[in-house]
Amino acid sequence: MRVIDAVSPTVADGFAVHVRDLRMSYGSTEVLRGVDFDVRYGEVFCLLGPNGAGKTTTLEILEGFRSPSGGTVRVLGLDPATQAARLRERVGMVLQECGFPRQARVAELIDIWRSYYPNPRPLGELLDVVELAEVRNAQVRKLSGGQRRRLDFALALAGDPDLVFLDEPTTGFDPEARRRCWAAIENLRRLGSTILLTTHYLDEAERLADRIAILRAGRIELAGTTQEVAARAGLATRISFTTPSALRQGQVAVPDGIDLAVRGPVSVCHTDNAAMTLRRLLDWALENRLGDLDGLAVSAPSLEDTYLQLTGPDPETM
């Protein structure tokens, strides 16, 4: 095991979560290969990545359930490996696949959870945040999947935590359940909690997160705001339009100097100079009497493009 070096408290204390050169091996398998990131107070930070990227392992180290093989980790200024007990009072956790006692009722369960913490949040407030007030006397086993996940949130919030960990909060949910889950997370953030969430859903990261780090094969590939991440990936602007029938039937040739891909009803090109490409395209359309190019759309590189480029096995599937 590597010696965990001392961090200057001023650096680590400025962040809710501070991770430097985090490494984790199971036997000879390296799961985390030097992960760095910081989570600021009050923000929603998303660890995004495909299954098996090391998201849950990272979270379990931050939660104090696993000791890392190396690196520095501070959560709310504490070392989770040695100060887990103090950390538990200030951190709420929603883990994957944690059940409830089989006979419990909603409000009763939240109430006993509140008794575990020194400064619990009021019961009524918790029920409101997760929108479970109307089923407060229901048996837990009769709740739907989405309601159970929101009860997870309520239990994680019972101690009025400064920081909340959410491990893939909406995996396997239908759209309506996801939407309500997201609403609960947004409520949570309005209460001032710092949130660290993992997900393999892009729309979830894009919708909820202030900042994103893309974890892939045990390393952070990119980190920043959604726009920064997309821009820093160096992706081109995408221009698309409805393929004119003349082009489709081969009566018109594709324009010179433009890497235009005709994909059935839609034609697409990528460019680093959107203005020039657009001018050339319109000139070409005018020359060939194709009109204003129906369905013309210019889109900045999206998080999805970035993500797929980073994690997708085959660039052709982009």
Partner: protein, 251 residues
């Protein structure tokens, strides 16, 4: 320390509420021993142990007392902890600042309450229905036997919970691991005999017969149960060692 005790007490109350809410659980725990007590007890009314003036029921009622203790402390606690672990409830508890000791203490306190209630009901019904009551001066033996029995079988319950691999098999495994031993230990038949020697030696090594004999000692005069006490102490130590080695908060 006082905080842990308060939390444990609260947890115990919560567990008791849950226990009584689950009709099948509570019914099975209580009805099974009491039904056996009444049915087999009725078949033994008016019979005496061969060559003695001791009524069958005087031995049978304390045997069922021991049986009730085992059902409540071993089967119930063991299968409950296995289900809690399988469902991820134990793991969830670990995400809170609740001390592990306070949580387990609460579970154990709730188990003790259930066990005492079932023992009291068994004793009461045994007395009302069959006139079986502890011998004069048998109360210390009864209390001591109860305490030892609860400690020993609750420890073994925690131990068996670590062996159970699924929530569905929790109850069956817990029952199947002791019912056959209870039968050949003569718990259900005061005149049970005729086991081959190797088998009766094996029966004597298990804690079921030891606890039954401790309880019988509170109803009829018996020699000092030195071996039974040693037996339960050894099983408790073995169970505790296994728990320390194998107990996990998650699957």
């Amino acid at each position: 320390m006082t905080r842990s005790l308060r939390l444990a007490a609260r947890q115990a109350l919560h567990e008791q509420r849950s226990f009584w809410r689950s009709a099948e659980y509570a019914l099975f725990t209580f009805a099974f021993p009491l039904m056996i007590l009444l049915l087999i007890g009725a078949a033994n009314v008016g019979s005496y142990l061969p060559g003695t003036h001791v009524k069958n029921t005087t031995v049978f009622v304390p045997s069922i007392l021991a049986f009730g203790v085992i059902v409540a402390a071993y089967v119930n606690l063991g299968s409950k902890v296995a289900v809690l672990r399988h469902d991820g409830v134990l793991k969830r508890i670990k995400t809170t600042p609740l001390p592990s000791g306070a949580y387990l203490g609460g579970l154990l306190a709730s188990t003790v309450a259930t066990t005492i209630l079932i023992a009291a009901l068994t004793g009461l019904i045994g007395w009302l229905a069959f006139g079986a009551d502890p011998r004069p001066g048998g109360l210390p033996a009864l209390t001591g036997g109860l305490i030892l029995g609860i400690v020993c079988f609750a420890t073994l319950g925690l131990a068996i919970s670590s062996v159970i691999t699924s929530a569905e098999s929790a109850g069956p495994v817990a029952y199947a691991s002791f019912l056959p031993i209870a039968i050949i230990s003569g718990v259900f038949d005061p005149t049970f005999s005729g086991l081959p020697q190797w088998l009766s030696r094996m029966v004597a090594a298990f804690p079921v017969k030891a606890l039954a004999q401790l309880m019988q000692g509170a109803y009829t005069a018996r020699p000092f149960p030195a071996w039974d006490l040693v037996n339960l102490a050894l099983w408790t130590a073995a169970g505790a060692t296994f728990v320390a080695w194998r107990f996990r908060w998650h699957t």
